[in-house]
Amino acid sequence: MKRQYGFYVELERCIKCWSCEVACKAWKGIDAGTVSLRRVIEITSGEFPAVKRTFLSMSCMHCEKPACEAVCPTGAISKRPEDGVVVVDQTKCIGCRYCFFACPFGVPQYDKTMQKCDMCLDRLAEGKEPACVATCPTRALHFGTMEELSKIAQEKVAKRLAGSTQPSVLVSK
């Protein structure tokens, strides 16, 4: 049965505490100063005092039709049917960086060969969540099948609509 796991970041709950970024490097034993397979990014807009700050934790999106897989000249990149994780075969990768051109999100990193998030397949095998999701102190970062994730998102929006405190106005779409 084809299953697609994925991440979901609730922008409103992320406070850029960098825990996911450091947990990912620590769990995979990556040296500081080299690659970052998950990065926390801030978008600031407006000027003092009307400032808007949005925080976003970003790693590989494990696309349904990965642009990196499509352009890889040596077939080093493949998408696993059983969980939808996009993985890189290090022995085939020649470090041509063409996948970087293709990726709309600038995810591929290079330490000789292409490095990127593999959804912590080792932890998944032990029934654990990826290291970044497990450590997120504000539960902004979620993991699961796309059905599970959409359920979380819809529940959140519905709750806000019902609104336990203020009576909310129904928005006409």
Binding site: A67, E69, V71, F101, A102
Partner: protein
Amino acid sequence: MSEETGFINRKFSRRTFLKATGALGAAVALSGAHDTLLQKNVAKAAAAAPAEEKLIPTFCAMCGPSAGCGILAKVVDGKFVGIEPMPECPLNNGKNCPKAHAAPQWVYSPERLKYPMKRVGKKGEGKFQRITWDEAIKLIADKLLELKAKYGPESLGTVSPARRSYSEYIYRFLMTHGSPNYGHSGICAVQRMFVLSYTVGAVPSADWANADLILLWGKQPIYSGSSKGGVQSFLAAKERGAKIIAIKPTVESDVAKSDIWVPLRPGTDAALGLAMINVIINEKLYDAKFVEEWCYGFDQLKAHIQQYPPEWAEPITGVPAEQIKTVARMYATTPKAAIDVSNGPEHARAANDAIRCIGILMAITGHLDKKGCNVWPSASTMPSPRGVHLFDRYTQEWVDKLLGYELPPQFQPFIEGTSCSLYRLWNSVLGGEKYPVRAIIAPGSQSVASTRGTKRILQALEKLEFFVIVDVTRTSDMPWADVVIPVCTMYETDHPFEVSGNWIMARNRVIEPLGDYKSDYEFWLDLGTACGYGADWWNGDIKAHMDWRLEPLGMTYEELRTKYPRGRKYDPKPPEYEQYAKRFAAKSTRIDKGPYLPQGKVALYNTLFEAAGFTPMPVWRELPEGPTATPELLEKYPLLMSDYHTSRTYNAAWLRHVPYLREIEPYPYLQIHPDTAKARGINDGDWVKVESPHGWIKMKAQYYPGIRPDVVFALHGWWQGCKELGFEDFPLGDGGANTNNMYTTDPEKMYDPIITAMTSQTLVQVTKI
């Protein structure tokens, strides 16, 4: 989007890269006369003797009307070899387009004219004899004075394309000589400036930095100078999230990045404009308060426009009525919406009507002189250098003496002084006008390649008594010249200065002139003095002239050069908005200096045009030949053809001889939709015959998915070969590649009745050769 993953599909990487290389490989006939460095090995270059390298701040000169981009010209051992960025110039912020980088090949091209010549062979034979600069000047001056005595000063005419930095010197010479006959090609800029001035009182520009919606109407920012502000402001607006609607017949890169493409047929902009006004008025989307307070003739317009609903415009423009409504509604209801109109609509019989519609659209929606809409230029604290145009000497008699009007006499002179259509100037030589001109000077203009009716121009060239060419490289009508005057390229002269917004910089000489010639400006100073008008021409003293021009800025030309090597920046004044009273009271350039807008309001209903015998409100005028204009011709000539004015690598009729540019666009291409071509058995790259009711040319078919299946497009101005790549010249008339052979020369159909803009649409058949 196609089902392939995103934009790069697996097929792309290896095969298409090869395909593109292959197409060029065969064509390269590597002729011997090749002086580029063979070995490209870096180590080898470093090992050579350390070259003495200089970087000279100056201006690129490779393209048209507006000022050149700032560059650092790299000179190695006295040879101009390349350019580096000069970020100080606000026009291009250190960026440069492909033409700028190909400048050395243009400067050192074998096609350069190196010394003055006088004709010794028969007219059109192309035999010349070298003479000195002074001999040539004297020869021209004597002839002009002789013709002036015999036939009056008005026997002299000049031909010029769009506005150049030396255009004002031509007006001045004509004024000092006594002739009103300045021939303008009528295919760029002046036409829309005239119509907008008489509709909204000025030429308000689109406020790209603040608009949320921009209509890119008939504009080619990538073709007409990709390094200038156009591209940078387009991309900045996109990244800011602004919506862009592209109204153009073909898909260039800017259309591909726009949100909506309005694929109208060339020459039908007026129909689209009228239909949009119809929608906005009938659906009450106009700004009633602004219309009531600042527009004249709304009721008349409202009645007049009922005949032009979107359903009427659909068969003419080819744009679905629904899309016309959507675009009209979006423009009217978006508070910050602007229209950036350029050359596209100026090539049609209804050119004035199209531009009037655009002015009216801006006015009735209130999108005028507001942040994010079309705004007036903000003033600068920089005192403006003196102009050369003797504007105050124009009189009514002067206007009446004009041979043939480009703009109606009641509105002469306009910003270019008294101007007559270039075609009428040549027509007078064949006796077709009030009186014939006897002498024509062509500074940087190739009439045979750039105006309609090539055959008639060639006949006139045969008959013209005295023809002078002033240019940097060989031109298409040089064989018929009596005197050829070479002039410096802008890399060989240290004047004039360039102004870009609030910044001014002196031009610096990169290399010494390669032959016996001076600059354009020195030519006019010398000729003016030789003709006895020295008092008006600083007696030929270029230095005194330049200092005179800079006097308002309180410094001499040398001080500008030495004190401000990278240009001097003045602070802009903060922009002012909604200054309607002042804006609509603007004085015109007419003899009586009356306001453009007699009512002090936007002319929805134009009383001045009405008094001059023209339609007070914009109307629809059919194409000379077109699917709805002449359906009877469709059977023999099924496709609608038009042409571009300029491209990424060429300007009008120039630069085909520059190898690095010719490599990119090696052939005169006919853009044709793949299905249309396949239906005729034409493959991508085949040579085809393109025939209209007026002439025929040979072009290479280029499969172009981003075009209407019933339309084909080409670039105008093809005549020149390129020795380094082994390309020969093309014939100028039928059988060549000059699109000007294809269009009508029937005076009733070839012009816009008010602004003499020349139409560039016809019906053609395309067959494989």
